[in-house]
Amino acid sequence: MRSVTIKIVLLLLVLTGCGNGQDSPAGSTPLSLFAVARSRHPENTGKEYIFTANPGDCINCLNLLHIRLKEAGMNKAGNVIIVLRNHRMVEREDLLQSTLAGIDSSLIPLIWDDSLYRAVNREAEPQYREQSLLLIYDKHGNKIFCKPVKEITGTEKEVLEIFQ
């Protein structure tokens, strides 16, 4: 148990301090995704909620994503991160004024990273990839939910805490 604890701490230390798109948080494994999310919320002991946002999604999908992100921010800001591609600065600014408008990035970290974005997409069913997704890990790092945001009804038990 002690050696396992040391390994997880080392992994967190390696990944902590990744800036928004400054460094590329390595990892294509589910544990790494969970570890990246945890590194942004070191005091969190509960679930981790990872959103992706694809600006190429349909207009209505992006509207719905905006609504869900605001709900998530109100209910579980301390457990949420948003992962996006490493977009150009002008696209980032455009997103911050539209789909991500009103999101407090000091509470909900935005990570602009292509490899992490692809890693989250790999967790989804093939027909769902490249859509704006919600991925949820339990406190042990087990994936318990992965669906496009537009498919979420809000009544699924895994999302009850975050969408009230």
């Binding site: 190429g56 207009i59 209505n60 150009r88």
Partner: protein
């Protein structure tokens, strides 16, 4: 560099058209808008978003619905246009320096008659049908009307004509459906656009070739009339192309292009170039390598035929890394030059080919000079 001060690009335009010597129209499919850029400075001079703000689509729909239909429904004014507006523009083309913009405008309504309520109920998914069958007052239906907006290069001086999108003729597979996106041309007399009659043909599986008895419709014409642009006829079918043995591409990606040549209008499809309206194969044809298909822009000069070609992906679009711009010598019939090209859309102004390129931070107009050695 393209001006992104008010419209940020997320992907290259799916279609380009030269409006005049100094203005280029670019269709941004993800935003459903046409942006007009200066070919000299890259400055954004206008967009259809500004045009749409000046048009009262609600009023347009009310004035276009037949009186009998208007009496049978309660038309609901949209509380906010923000969700519907961006999805309205379907396609655009340029004819005689004027933009032809094809819109499909949705409207929401409450049926007033029992037959209307029943029709809306039947159209709902089963889960919703069960939910609403006992509360008919809550049912709303969605309808749509097509409009062609003809405007000048400054998006003023507009004329609006209705376009028939529904009640199209029946076929053995169901009924025709218009697909304006992947290929569209309009002038004062007619509209030409892609058509299907079987939704399964929208996206065929890899290796699922067209059978010899299938005869897929490819192109249709709508004629301008006192009632607007109305269905005329199907004008091109795979049955009319004896050597049509290409794997069927995804109908959404398989783009057409139209070109005026002498007094004729030509249409370029993946199966060749045809003359409208008799739809005979034109004397000039694209030359392809084995396994190659051609989609996107086609331009014709006295000496050259320019087109893009490449390898299709399993999903039906051209693989970007394989995309080439081909210059076919019309005299010899040989492809004099092939060069790697950024996209399937390009325009030709005199001896300069223009396309939209992208580096890490910017979109820009790429220029390629044609040398006649």
């Amino acid at each position: 560099m393209l001006d992104e001060s008010s419209v940020v690009l997320r992907t290259t335009p799916t279609q380009l058209a030269l409006i005049n010597d100094t203005l280029l129209g670019a269709f941004l499919m993800d935003k459903r808008m046409v942006c007009i850029y200066s070919t000299i400075s890259g400055r954004l001079t206008g967009s259809t978003r500004e045009l749409e703000l000046r048009i009262n689509f609600d009023s347009l729909v009310r004035n276009s619905l037949p009186a009998a239909e208007l009496d049978s429904i309660e038309l609901l004014s949209p509380e906010t246009d923000k969700e519907l507006q961006p999805n309205r523009l379907q396609a655009f083309s340029v004819s005689s320096g004027r933009l032809q913009l094809l819109y499909l405008v949705e409207y929401e309504y409450k049926p007033r008659t029992e037959a209307g309520r029943k029709a809306v109920l039947e159209s709902l998914p089963a889960m919703l049908r069960d939910k609403y069958k006992d509360t008919p007052g809550a049912i709303t239906g969605i309808g749509a009307i097509g409009f062609l907006i003809n405007s000048n290069e400054r998006l003023h001086d507009i004329k609006i004509t209705t376009v028939q999108f529904d009640h199209l003729p029946r076929t053995k597979n169901g009924a025709y459906s218009l697909l304006p996106g992947p290929g569209f041309f309009a002038d004062e007399n007619a509209i030409y656009l892609r058509v299907i009659d079987n939704p399964e043909n929208m996206a065929r599986q890899p290796g699922q070739h067209i059978r010899s008895d299938e005869h897929l419709p490819l192109l249709a014409a709508l004629k301008n009339s006192p009632l607007g642009y109305r269905w005329d006829r199907e004008i091109l079918n795979t049955a009319d192309i004896p050597d049509y043995d290409l794997p069927p591409l995804n109908a959404c990606y398989s783009t057409l292009d139209f070109a005026r040549w002498n007094d004729s209008l030509l249409v370029s499809t993946e199966a060749g170039i045809f003359r409208i309206p008799d739809m005979k194969k034109a004397g000039i044809q694209k030359s392809l390598r084995p396994g190659e298909v051609s989609m996107g822009s086609v331009k014709i000069t006295d000496k050259l035929l320019l087109y893009t070609a490449g390898k299709p992906s399993p999903k039906g679009y051209l693989v970007p890394d394989s995309l080439m711009l081909c210059l076919l010598n019309r005299t010899t019939g040989n492809v004099d030059a092939r060069l790697e090209f950024p996209d399937i859309a390009f325009v030709l102004r005199n001896d300069t080919v223009m396309a939209i390129g992208k580096n890490k931070e910017h979109y820009f107009i790429s220029r390629y000079a044609i040398r006649n050695d």
